[in-house]
């Protein structure tokens, strides 16, 4: 068997990126207290950490771990695994690699796989993990109740979710675009934030976290300074067709599933993903603890959310996804999704009802003038003056909007909506807000205006409108200053001025310095500055390790000897020292070290009962007290 010294040495030899990835799969209680490879080896071999790692090993891996108590090449491990437990050489090889990857065995320079002492001790604690128990317990036979649901009914039932997930996630993306979803310092969203998103995106509170998780896996949101915000890819995703959206979400979700879940699914695609999956998981992972119900529950929730299961039963889409991959599943999803519609109802109350899923391009354009009130298989939008103003600022015209609405309406344009369009278009641009660049000729500022310190201005062609604006009490806090018949100046920036006027229902557009119209700004909610997201402790640990020591094996050995002696001094224990003699031979010394420093170790020689001082360079190895 190998020692922690072997593990520390192998840790120091690892590429930092590989080390970081592998450590990500292990639970370390206090990563911030790890300063070098020896600390890390100790942390990895702490019984609690080992126990946790064993829970994630399947039966084959545990058998291989038992077999590696006697160091040997991977190919020889198979002989020790009970012949009745059917495993292949490849499976044993894969298991040995997995064990090495989890730092539960070390691969010695000669290629032999050797388990580590502390791992074996933990392994021996659990009677379910003996070779006999592991190999002798057969897979459970799970009797499933037979219902009369045919696969087509099952697929039809889940079809609603296939569509709903892409719509719900789209709403979540739009919600975080308006106000980022603040991440807690310890990770996750606080309940009030979850509720806010639930309300804004009109999804169940319980679904917010899985939806953000799905968006994160698919690279549709990223953590900004104020919280989760849409990535650059999100816009493209929102424009793509539904089955494509679904495929990218589910593909990313599948890729982010824990290895253990994938292992279980690989063997149990067809059974119910409810209780039978759990029973099988408990057999497959005999040391499995709390993670089994937790992860399976989370997995089951997500599977239902994605429309992969209905009442725990996998659908044809789920089977295709696991057996043939994402594109096969996508073909099925395309057929199950409702067909997009291109006609809506426009109503007197300014609502627009799409009596089915509106094609993404039409939905996107409609959203420029209308707010979504409910989104599902059918969606309800409400057109508002503010929405029309924004669309006009974005380059639409009354005629283009009218043409668009007529083209999608199955019942024409109701009179109140037509009136609103005409009225809003007529008012659009009556007030124009722009930044003022001091000293710029284009601003054409008077001397008085320059001394006022204006940074923005609002103009109108009609002086009477400027009169009303100047007299408006609600705008008094802005301290607007008249500058000629057509202009008011402001010391606040153009966006602040724009929103102040908009809030008072003035028809205002934003212009650039050359008086060209700009798109309406997005009013993002101002968030309190958040605590910077915590760093990645594993990444920091690896960085510390990289900078803490030299590269050679000799350095590792020397450092390890000093650490062992230090430990013996603190614990006041006697250790066996292997000391190199000048003739090249070695001798053994039983010593209780009392101090280490200056390149020497001082201590009491137990055999002769005298104080000795030895150069550290002469000590070849340190071992624990003789039994």
């Amino acid at each position: 068997m190998a020692s922690s010294l072997d593990l520390a040495g192998s840790l120091r030899g690892l590429d930092p990126s590989i080390l970081e990835a592998r450590l990500g799969e292990r639970h370390l209680a206090r990563p911030t207290t790890v300063h070098d490879a020896f600390d890390l080896a100790d942390a990895l071999l702490e019984p609690s950490s080992v126990r946790e790692a064993l829970t994630r090993l399947d039966r084959t891996a545990l058998l291989v771990l038992q077999a590696s108590r006697t160091p040997r090449p991977p190919s020889d491990l198979l002989s020790d695994v009970d012949p009745q437990f059917e495993v292949s050489v490849d499976q044993v090889d894969a298991a040995a690699s997995r064990l090495a990857s989890l730092f539960l065995v070390v691969v010695q320079p000669d290629g032999r796989v050797a388990s580590l002492d502390p791992v074996s001790i933990v392994l021996d604690e659990n009677p379910d993990l003996t070779v006999e128990a592991l190999a002798g317990t057969r897979p459970p036979v799970v009797l499933e109740s037979v219902d009369d649901l045919d696969p087509a009914t099952l697929d039809a039932r889940s079809a609603e979710r296939l569509y709903a997930i892409v719509i719900e996630l789209a709403e979540v993306l739009r919600a975080v675009a308006v106000a980022p979803a603040r991440e807690l310092a310890k990770g996750g969203l606080a309940l009030p934030e979850t509720r806010r998103l639930s309300e804004a995106a009109r999804v169940d509170v319980a679904d917010v976290a899985p939806l953000i998780g799905a968006a994160r896996s698919a690279g549709l949101v990223e953590l900004g300074p104020d919280g989760w915000i849409p990535t650059a890819e999100a816009e493209g995703w929102l424009q793509s067709e539904w089955s494509s959206r679904w495929a990218s979400l589910v593909g990313a979700w599948l890729g982010s599933l824990p290895r253990e879940i994938l292992l279980v699914l690989d063997q149990r695609v067809d059974t119910s993903w409810g209780a039978p999956l759990r029973t099988f998981s408990e057999w497959l992972f005999p040391a499995g603890g709390q993670w089994i119900p937790e992860r399976l529950d989370a997995f089951a929730r997500s599977a239902e959310l994605f429309g992969l299961t209905s009442g725990g039963r996998p659908t044809s889409v789920a089977v295709a996804l696991l057996r043939e991959g994402v594109s096969a599943a996508r073909s099925l999803v395309g057929a199950l999704m409702p067909q997009p519609i291109d006609q809506v109802y426009l109503q007197h109350d300014l609502t627009v009802v799409a009596p089915g899923p509106l094609a993404p391009s039409l939905d996107g354009r409609l959203r420029t003038i209308a707010e979504v009130e409910s989104a599902g298989l059918a969606a309800t939008y409400r057109i508002s003056e503010a929405g029309i103003q924004q669309a006009l600022s974005s380059g639409e015209t009354e005629a283009s909007l009218r043409e668009f609405l007529e083209s999608i309406s199955s019942t024409g344009i109701p009179q109140p909506l037509g009136y609103l369009l005409t009225e809003t278009a007529a008012r659009h641009g009556r007030f124009r807000v722009a930044s003022v660049v001091p000293g710029s000729d284009s601003a054409g500022l008077s001397e008085a205006a320059r001394t006022f310190g204006a940074v923005s201005q609002v103009r109108s062609d009609d002086p009477s409108l400027v009169d009303a604006l100047e007299a408006d009490q609600a705008l008094a806090p802005l301290g607007l200053r008249r500058d000629g018949d057509h202009r008011l100046l402001c010391r606040y920036d153009a966006e602040t001025l724009y929103w102040a006027l908009t809030d008072e229902r003035y028809p205002v557009v934003l212009e650039d310095a050359a008086a060209a119209p700009l798109r309406s700004p997005i009013r993002r909610k101002v968030r309190r500055s958040t605590v910077a997201p915590p760093g990645n402790p594993i990444h920091d640990l690896v960085a510390r390790l990289s900078s803490s020591a030299g590269d050679s094996a000799e350095d590792t050995e020397r450092a390890w000897i000093i650490r062992q002696l230090d430990a013996a001094v603190k614990a006041r224990i006697t250790v066996q020292l292997t000391v190199a003699q000048s003739d090249g031979s070695t001798s053994t010394l039983s010593m209780e070290p009392t101090g280490v420093g200056g390149g020497r170790v001082r201590g009491r020689d137990r055999k002769s009962d005298i104080e000795r001082t030895l150069p550290l360079s002469s000590i070849v190895a340190v071992a624990g007290p003789e039994a």
Binding site: A156, R157, S158, A159, E160, R161, A164, R202, S310, G311, P338, Y345, Q347, H348, D349, L350, T351, V353, P355, G356, S374, G376, L377, A378, T380, T411, Q415, P416, Y419, L420, S464, D467, A468, L469, A471, D472, Q473, A474, R505
Partner: protein, 544 residues
């Protein structure tokens, strides 16, 4: 699968009105879903727990309801909705209130459920003994309260404890000149077979007649609770006209008169009047051995009356309303204490008879002159609405509208007394405000009904305190008239289609680019949701 319904996972159901099967779908859907909005093309219904329990109480099963959804749905019904309907409906009637001689019992058809609710602190207080695992004895006074508590726990009880017959009193319908319509008779029959409960009928569909029908069937002393004195008198007049009851048999119990007769009509206000913290007219509830209690406009039932009603559970109760939706959200109390919905209107039939044809609504936008505009801008928020609402330029528009509807019965409605004075003077029309004496009001109303007065200027106060006579044109110059369902119904009652078949018209004058317009926007949304047509006009175009 291409029906008129779209069932959404948020429990809303959209109905495409133009679909050939829309009428049938609406008929079946209204059994268990509440209509939320009814604009012209797509109506929105919501499936609620109470709606499902109401339907269950009326004998409909979850399979029936799911069958309706599946039959008329355009897309597969979301599984979450299917599961939810099944589970919710199954909760009704697991607990039953019944009677064994003089002892009230709480029986559980599911022992585990009964055990669970009996452990609840508030219910445990109402139980006086345990007979077996599935039967508890209930305090006599707790029949209403236990139902309230049970519904809060999500286990609505079925009340089979029966009713006191009351003192017999001969009442019959006088059908020499009329007869109950089919749906009215059906409502009466459903009510009686169910015990107690609520009949939902739109305004104009004859709720009072259903009440009279119920009384004629019960033939017992009856207490009728109504919203105000005017309504009390309308009930009295209607009962005298439609039944064999005479003036001696009908009493009014209100602020001004305190009569207790075999049929007594009392106002909610008098019943909830308190002196020194005590209800002073509670004795009315025990003044006679009432066999029937009728609650008019049950969606307006004041909160204290619920408490009183909880103690009236031994008496048969009939609720009448146009909507089960309450502004205060106490629909569950109506369910527990009055009873489940026993009848809902067959809209198609009633509409066909022309009783609920909506009026046409017009919003007239008025441009403020520059000086008024500047005054408005320079004013503080609290002044702005008054300035916008009372803009003198509105007077011209009122004149134009009155001229346009020459010969029709026109109501002009305002909120501010100065403006009302000015309108009355300018139009040469009588005015009616909160300060107008009752006799003068009645005289003016009668003159208006008789056509002697063509234009009447009324204040908002007057409009709320009394029932306005019917008109074909209403012009609202100021004041936010409609923002709630109840007010839209009021509007429907106020404005009836003319005999000539022309629709009634409701005009609202709005100052452009002012807060007046914000109110108008809400009104537009609300009235359109109630099914009224809505048109926006410019005052200049109107003049042209």
């Amino acid at each position: 699968m291409n029906g008129p319904l779209i069932v959404q996972s948020d429990r809303t159901v959209l109905l495409e009105v133009a679909h050939p099967d829309a009428e049938d779908a609406r008929h079946d859907l209204s059994v268990f879903a509440e209509l939320e909005r009814a604009p012209e093309h797509v109506h929105t219904y919501r499936i609620t727990r109470l709606g499902l329990w109401n339907a269950r109480a009326a004998g409909h099963t979850a399979e029936d309801m799911l069958g309706t959804l599946e039959k008329y749905s355009k897309f597969p019904v979301p599984q979450s909705v299917t599961v939810d309907i099944g589970e919710t409906v199954a909760r009704y009637g697991r607990i039953v209130v019944e009677r064994d001689g003089t002892q009230l019992l709480l029986r559980g058809t599911d022992t585990a459920v009964l055990r669970e609710v009996a452990r609840n602190k508030k219910i445990a207080e109402l139980l006086v003994g345990k007979r077996s695992d599935d039967v508890y004895e209930l305090a006599e006074w707790a029949r209403g309260e236990v139902k309230q508590q049970l519904i809060k726990l999500g286990w609505p009880a079925e009340d089979n404890a029966g009713y006191t017959p009351g003192t017999p009193h001969e009442i019959a319908l006088d059908t020499s000149e009329w007869a109950l319509r089919g749906y009215q008779q059906e409502a009466v029959d459903n009510f009686f077979s169910g015990g107690s409960g609520v009949v939902v009928l739109p305004c104009g569909a004859g709720k009072t007649l259903v009440g009279a029908g119920a009384m004629a069937q019960a033939k017992t002393t009856t207490l009728i609770l109504v919203t105000n004195t005017v309504s009390a008198r309308q009930w009295r007049d209607e009962l005298l006209k439609r039944t064999t009851l005479t003036e001696d048999e009908i009493g009014e119990y209100s602020g001004s008169v305190k009569e207790v007769k075999p049929v007594t009509i009392a106002t909610y206000q008098i019943l909830t009047a308190r002196r020194a913290g005590k209800y002073t007219h509670l004795s009315l509830l025990d003044a006679l051995d009432w066999g029937l209690v009728v609650y008019d406009e049950v969606h307006l039932l004041p909160a204290p009356v619920f408490k009183l009603t909880a103690e009236l559970q031994a008496r048969r109760r009939l609720g009448l309303t146009a909507t089960l939706v309450r502004e205060d959200g106490r629909e569950a109390d109506v369910f527990s204490l009055i009873g489940p919905k026993r009848f809902d209107a067959p809209w198609k039939e009633i509409e066909a008879q022309g009783f609920i044809s909506p009026a046409s609504c017009y919003e007239v936008r008025v441009d403020l002159p520059q000086d008024a505009r500047l005054e408005y801008a320079a004013s503080a928020d609290d002044e702005r609405y008054r300035l916008a609402a009372t803009a003198p330029i509105k007077l011209d528009v009122v004149h134009q509208l009155v001229a346009k509807h020459d010969g029709e019965q026109i109501l002009v409605i305002g909120q501010y007394l100065d403006q009302i004075d000015e309108l009355a003077k300018s139009l040469g029309a009588p005015k009616l405000t909160g300060a107008t004496p009752v006799e003068e009001r009645q005289r003016l109303f009668q003159a208006f009904r008789d056509g002697e007065v063509k234009v009447l200027v009324v204040s908002k106060v007057a409009n709320f305190s009394v029932d306005l006579p019917e008109a074909t044109v209403a012009i609202q110059v100021s004041g936010s008239y409609g923002s709630r369902q109840e007010e839209a119904q009021r509007l429907g009652r106020l404005l009836r289609p003319k005999k000539s078949g022309l629709p009634a018209s409701f005009y609202t004058l709005v100052s452009r680019d002012t807060v007046d317009q914000d109110f108008a926007q809400n009104r537009q949304r609300f009235l359109a949701e109630q099914g009224y047509s809505y048109t926006i006009l410019d005052s200049i175009a109107l003049a042209a």
